[in-house]
C-alpha cells in the first residue's frame, strides 16, 4: 500500500481570511491525501507541536499578514530543534518575489502566490515528499 500523504495546513497570524487555505485543503483531500487542518491564529509553537504529533510529511502555511519573513524561519528553526527537520514547509500568500527567493534559500519549500492552481501544489507535493521520507530502524 502506498503510504498516505499527511499534510498539515495552518494559518498563523491574526488575519481571518481562510478561504484560500480551505480550497487547498479540499483539493488535497480530493487528491487522496490526509489533511490536518488546525485553523486560525496558530503560533509557530502550536504548528510544530501538532505537526510532530500528527507525523505529517509537510506543513502548508497560508500567510497574508506580511509576517512571512519571521513566521517561516521560526517554524523551520523549531522543527530542527525538535528533531523534525525532515518535514517539508511550503506555503502561500501575498509574498514579494525577492522574499520568496530569500525564503527558499533558507530551506523553505515552494511558495505560491494568489492565482496558483491547486493542481500545481498537488504535483509538487507528490514529487517532493517521497524523497524526503526516511526508513528507520524499528527494533
Amino acid at each position: 500500500m502506498q503510504k498516505k500523504f499527511r499534510i498539515l495546513l495552518a494559518k498563523p497570524g491574526l488575519d481571518g481570511h481562510d478561504r484560500g487555505i480551505k480550497v487547498v485543503a479540499s483539493a488535497l483531500r480530493d487528491a487522496g491525501m490526509e489533511v490536518i487542518y488546525t485553523g486560525l491564529r496558530q503560533t509557530p509553537e502550536m504548528i510544530v507541536a501538532a505537526s510532530i504529533q500528527e507525523d505529517v510529511d509537510a506543513i502548508g502555511l497560508s500567510i497574508l499578514s506580511g509576517a512571512h519573513m519571521t513566521l517561516f524561519p521560526a517554524v523551520l528553526d523549531l522543527l530542527k530543534r525538535k528533531g523534525a527537520g525532515r518535514i517539508l514547509v511550503f506555503g502561500g500568500g501575498i509574498i514579494p518575489e525577492k522574499d520568496i527567493e530569500e525564503l527558499e534559500a533558507m530551506g523553505v519549500g515552494k511558495l505560491y502566490t494568489p492565482g496558483a492552481s491547486t493542481r500545481e501544489i498537488i504535483d509538487y507535493l507528490k514529487k517532493t515528499i517521497p524523497g524526503r521520507r526516511k526508513e528507520e530502524k524499528v527494533f
Binding site: K4, I36, I52, D55, A84, K137, V138, F139
Partner: protein
C-alpha cells in the same frame, strides 16, 4: 538507536513515528504491537461519540484541559472519515482543541477511518495500545460523527460518553438508535439551544425505562461546551464511572469482551489479507466478476469455491 529504544525513552517524535508505523500496517507491525503489549494495560479509555457536529471535540478539549491540569498524562485520538471515493480525508478535530494543544502532557493524534465503518479508524484500537504503552494514563477517543449503527467505540473504551444535541431528533429515533445502548453517560450539549430541555427530559425518561445497569444508573449531563458550562460535572461523572467499573465484578466481563473483540479483529484482518493476496487477488477477482456478470456463474457457489481452497487442519 532504534525507534523502539527512543519510544521507551519517552521521545515524542518516536511515539508519533511508531503510531504511523502501526497505522500504515508496515511489515512487522504485529510484532511491534506484541512488544508493546506487556507495557500497556494501565490507561483508562474514555470514548466520546455522537452525531456530526454535536460538540465531541469541544467536549474532549474541555475535559482534557481539566485532566491535564491535574498532571495526568493524556492521549487523544480524534477520528474523522476517509472519503470512500478518493481515499483522502479532512481531519479537522484539532480546530476545537486549542486549549490543550501546547500542553507537554497531552498528545493528540488525528486518524482517518481508512475504510473502517464502525465509527473508529482501522487501527484506532492498536494506536490506543501504543499510547497506553507510552505511559498515557487517560486516553480519550473521539469517533467520527455517528448515526445509529457505528458502535465500535463501546467495545474499545471503559467509559462511553454519548453526546446528543437538541437537533438530534425525537424520542422514537432515540429508541431506535443503537447509540442509546452504548452510553455509560449521556450529554445534552448545546444546552443554550432551543429544545435542550425537552431532549433532556426525554432522555431521562428513556433511560429510566431501561433502569439501573449492573448497579450503575446512567446519568444525563447538560453542557454548553463552547462556554465550558457543565463540563466539570461531566468529568465528575466520568471519574465516578471509572471508580464504579474498576471495582465492580462487571469489569472482568468487560475486559474479556474487549479481548474477545480484539482477538477476532486480529484474526479477521489476517483472513482479509489472505483473501486479497492469495485467495482472490485482483486479476482473479475481476475475472470472477466478469463470469458472474455474464451469467456463467453465481456469486454463492463462487464464494464457496474460493473458500474451499483453504484447508483447515484439525489437531
Amino acid at each position: 538507536m532504534s525507534l523502539l529504544d527512543r519510544f521507551f525513552q519517552k521521545d515524542g517524535v518516536a511515539l508519533s513515528k511508531v503510531i504511523s508505523y502501526i497505522e500504515n500496517q508496515e511489515p512487522g507491525y504485529q510484532k511491534l504491537l506484541g512488544r508493546l503489549y506487556p507495557h500497556a494495560g494501565k490507561a483508562y479509555k474514555i470514548g466520546i461519540t455522537g452525531p456530526p457536529g454535536a460538540g465531541k471535540s469541544t467536549i474532549a478539549d474541555k475535559i482534557s484541559s481539566k485532566l491535564a491540569a491535574g498532571d495526568k498524562e493524556l492521549g487523544i485520538i480524534a477520528v474523522d472519515p476517509t472519503s470512500p471515493f478518493t481515499g483522502g480525508a479532512l481531519l479537522g478535530d484539532r480546530i476545537r482543541m486549542q486549549d490543550i494543544s501546547l500542553l507537554p502532557n497531552v498528545f493528540i493524534r488525528s486518524m482517518a477511518t481508512r475504510g473502517s465503518t464502525g465509527g473508529l479508524a482501522q487501527t484506532t484500537s492498536e494506536v490506543t495500545l501504543v499510547l497506553d504503552a507510552f505511559g498515557k494514563e487517560y486516553i480519550l477517543i473521539e469517533t467520527v460523527g455517528v448515526g445509529q449503527a457505528e458502535l465500535d467505540v463501546a467495545d474499545l473504551c471503559d467509559t462511553t460518553v454519548v453526546v446528543l444535541v437538541p437537533e438530534f431528533g425525537d424520542s422514537v429515533q432515540m429508541m431506535k438508535a443503537g447509540l442509546m445502548e452504548i452510553g455509560d453517560i449521556f450529554v445534552v450539549n448545546k444546552s443554550d439551544r432551543l429544545g435542550a430541555g425537552r431532549l433532556l427530559s426525554e432522555l431521562e425518561m428513556v433511560l429510566e425505562i431501561r433502569g439501573n445497569q449492573d448497579g450503575w444508573g446512567i446519568p444525563v449531563v447538560a453542557t454548553e461546551a463552547v462556554n465550558n458550562v457543565g463540563t466539570e460535572a461531566l468529568l465528575e461523572k466520568i471519574i465516578q464511572h471509572q471508580s464504579y467499573i474498576s471495582s465492580h465484578p462487571v469489569y472482568e466481563k468487560h475486559r474479556k469482551n474487549q479481548i474477545r473483540t480484539e482477538l477476532s479483529r486480529i484474526v479477521s484482518r489476517q483472513f482479509q489479507e489472505l483473501m486479497l493476496t492469495r485467495l482472490l487477488p485482483s486479476p482473479r477477482l475481476e475475472s470472477l466478476i466478469e463470469e458472474i456478470y455474464r451469467g456463467e456463474k453465481d456469486p454463492y457457489s463462487s464464494g464457496r469455491e474460493v473458500f474451499s481452497r483453504i484447508e483447515v487442519r484439525d489437531n
